[in-house]
Amino acid sequence: MNPESNDPILERLRDLPVPPLDDAAVGRVRWRAQAALAGERRLPVRMVRVWTGSVLPALLVAAGLMYAWQSMTWMESIYVADRAVASR
């Protein structure tokens, strides 16, 4: 029991009318949460950790390296090749 249980202001707070949540919203949220409960069971936590901790960063790094290499190749084809043609 709270020592403040006899405090008149807190009593008034306690008696405030309860704002309702409509049944449709209650059902919708329960359904989504149940889906999350079932979904997590199908996808083990360890698999999620491996994916977010190793596989995804490795893929991002690889994509970054490929992008950088292709950019370098493309710039080389424009500037270095053009300079070679001009020097002839």
């Binding site: 709270n2 020592p3 403040e4 405090d7 202001i9 807190l10 009593e11 008034r12 707070l13 306690r14 405030l16 009318p17 309860v18 704002p19 949540l21 919203a25 209650v26 919708r28 949220v29 329960r30 989504r32 949460a33 149940q34 999350a36 409960l37 079932a38 997590e40 069971r41 936590v45």
Partner: protein
């Protein structure tokens, strides 16, 4: 026989749907009420309410055996709200949105006795409190959590909680008094 909170925690750890349904049935109205008064906006509260329960479902199997179910649920809800506040201008927007009364008018004396008006005044005064004060009052007075549970939800020590509760109560009383005095304007958007 209804399962105890401890039995529900055990069920949640096993990710049992029946346990989750029982927890939801038992606590959803309280969690929504807490979020609505904390956020001050119905749309925001509904979003946070959904995020809270999805988070509860996702992390159910990480619960430890002796978890205080009520304290944990309110902690998850509060964390969702805290996270939301970091990314929004909620404090600027939310003042008094639960009240239908305009802020800059003192309440006429002849309507003070009306119960609805009194509730609206109280809602407004509560909404104008700084978030830290509002949440401690909501958890202690409205939700009736034990002080030990509230300290756990807020992540503070028991003596800090007592001080915060005392300050929050005093500020609420001050705002209520200011709002009900004829000719005085309600202090809106005070220190947050």
């Amino acid at each position: 026989v209804k399962p105890t909170d401890a039995e529900l925690v055990a069920g949640l750890r096993r990710r049992e749907r029946a346990a989750f349904d029982e927890v939801y049935a038992r606590y959803h109205a309280r969690i929504f009420r807490f979020l609505l008064r904390l956020a001050g906006q119905r749309e925001v509260a509904e979003d946070l309410f959904q995020e809270t329960w999805v988070s509860v479902a996702r992390h159910a199997d990480r619960l430890v055996e002796d978890t205080d179910l009520a304290a944990w649920l309110f902690t998850v809800a509060r964390n969702r709200h805290t996270s939301f506040r970091r990314w929004s201008v909620l404090d600027w927007m939310n003042t008094g949105t639960l009240s239908s009364e305009p802020h800059d008018e003192a309440v006429p004396a002849d309507r003070r006795a009306d119960a609805r008006e009194t509730a609206a005044l109280l809602e407004r005064a509560l909404a104008e409190l700084p978030s830290a004060h509002r949440e401690v009052l909501l958890l202690v007075a409205v939700e009736g959590l034990e002080q030990q549970q509230v300290a756990e939800v807020l992540g503070i020590r028991h003596d800090t909680l007592r001080q915060r509760l005392s300050r929050a109560r005093a500020e609420l009383a001050e705002r209520l008094e200011a709002a009900t005095k004829p000719g005085r304007r309600v202090a809106v958007g005070g220190a947050r």
